[in-house]
Symmetry: C2
Subunit: 323 residues, 2 copies
């Protein structure tokens, strides 16, 4: 595929087309991953998460500007798991940063969950691999909202940054709701707001309490991203954390966890693609649904029977070719 | 299983134990579902969602009190997809409502995502089925946060209620972020706050714009749940919407969509359980991860090969018994 060569030679246009191809066709996706895989493994992957309204996008902007100043090549994957319908918040980000998009050291891609084969985390992982192969030094995964998807994305990143702000009334509630333990670096943005010092003290207290037995105590940094204040310290901490991961062998562990996650995802999507395609195209699926709906037979017996029958067909090669 | 008989005869203790059993053991889960399936299909399933901080729990409390007053039997499944680590927000709810838990017409169960086989939506679906078989008239699924999980849960409910509040600074942002189209009923809680009338007007405008071509235009209701104001109107709309679904045949469609979703989930979990177990217990999994990490071979070829080999073993019955 000439496109992959072009991408490896630095063409952002080729990179962009490859992402689109990979998102839309499983067979093409697999071909791309097979070729680019050996060029990956050099980027520092940083996840940005936190509740909406804390100025996360502004913080990412400021941080990216600083990274570019330091001569880094930066890729951004903006992920909006809450957007199966609209191209909401993240598209906004993209427009916002479009002025930078001509910069050859910066590449931005938005992902919403509409119509993604095998889920958003799989596509995110793929895009990260492409950006890695492209030669990005830092890849930022920016997510909207807090939830299960953030947890999955945290597992993908080497360094997870949690952005909070004093203005976000439920900041502490958001921490309680489960994202805290994924954080390697905490940022309290909008540090010029009323109540900022209390918020910072609260977060430092919570972090120190929760990470007391951890060899890496996450730094809690205050920032005013809009004015680019506190941004250098944040980027310094990226470097400190990456160094820490390398020195402690945790980087290798994290990369292996990513592979394990991909393994699971690939197995799941293999089955979803093959078994569901088979059942759908053979007309069995609608029959099964009607049988269960009419309570003709117990649902699990019906499904088990059909899984096995379709597996046999798929493995024997009667249904689709694979490999 | 005597427990199922006890449950069908009205024992909340048996119901509670069945949920625990079903959550922790796939084989037992399947047995339970097979038996209870024919007793399901009578409950009105209502999903409550919306951003944190809008008073969603208080609203659910008030609504449940009203439903109980009207003689309904109510089940609540409180789902916290953001909580892989903590037993945060939802556990709070549970404690909050414990005073009611002796009420034989009310049953509450919290679900967090820690260690759930096959994902949270599958367990939620199972608990809904149990509550349905138990004879609940109304089953409320309450979720924390906004995200992909909300979308999945919306697909499970017959009626989706979105709770917002004027105080939630990013209320409109949350709507934009994708939950809007899932809403059948909108509640603007805390209607006595500053800016309430503007917030309500905004939401009515957005809803009317987005649902203009829809035969069901979601009502936008204001409420002060803490003072039980506006709650009767909400419960009336539950009844209106359920009636509408029945009259238009949409109820049957929604139930079939649920079955289709379960079909997909069951297939996925069948594979995850069987293939991943097989690879794990044969020691192949760690070998695959190391091979991919060391870039010895391309990852997709390795995984495909192992999926097929393990499928063959599983189907031929060499590895585990199924059925």
């Amino acid at each position: 595929m000439g496109l992959i060569d072009d991408m490896l030679n630095g063409s952002q246009r080729a990179l962009s087309r490859l992402i689109t191809l990979l998102e839309n066709d499983e067979e093409v996706r697999q071909k791309i991953i097979r070729i680019i895989f050996k060029y990956t493994g050099n980027a520092h992957i940083i996840g940005f998460t936190g509740p909406p309204g804390v100025g996360k996008s502004t913080t990412v902007d400021a941080v990216v500007t600083e990274l570019l100043k330091r001569g880094k090549r930066v890729g951004i994957v903006a992920v909006d798991p809450s957007s199966p319908f609209f191209q909401g918040a993240v598209l906004g980000d993209r427009i916002r940063m479009q002025s930078n998009e001509e910069n050859e050291n910066l590449f931005i891609r938005s992902l919403a969950s509409r119509g993604k084969l095998g889920g958003l985390s799989k596509v995110t992982n793929d895009v990260v691999k492409l950006l890695d192969a492209f030669g990005m030094d830092v890849i930022i995964i920016e997510t909207v909202g807090t939830g299960q998807s953030e947890y999955e994305i945290a597992k993908m990143a080497h360094t997870t940054v949690i952005v909070l702000s004093p203005g976000y009334g439920d900041g502490i509630q958001a921490i309680k709701a489960g994202i805290l333990e994924t954080g390697d670096i905490f940022i309290v943005n909008k540090a010029d707001m009323d109540g900022a010092s209390k918020a910072i003290a609260d977060i430092i207290g919570t972090v120190e309490f929760n990470f007391s037995s951890n060899p890496w105590t996450p730094p809690v940094l205050s920032a005013i991203a809009k004015k680019h204040e506190g941004v250098q310290a944040i980027v310094n901490e990226f470097e400190n954390h990456y160094k820490y991961l390398k020195e402690t062998n945790l980087l290798e562990n994290k990369n292996k966890v990513r592979i394990e996650q991909e393994l699971t995802e690939h197995i799941t999507s293999w089955v979803e693609t093959n078994v569901l395609n088979y059942l759908g195209s053979s007309g069995e699926k609608q029959k099964i649904i009607d049988q269960i709906f009419n309570k003709e037979e117990d649902p699990i017996a019906i499904i088990d029977h059909h899984i096995k029958e379709s597996m046999k067909e798929i493995i024997s090669g009667n249904f689709i070719k694979q490999d």
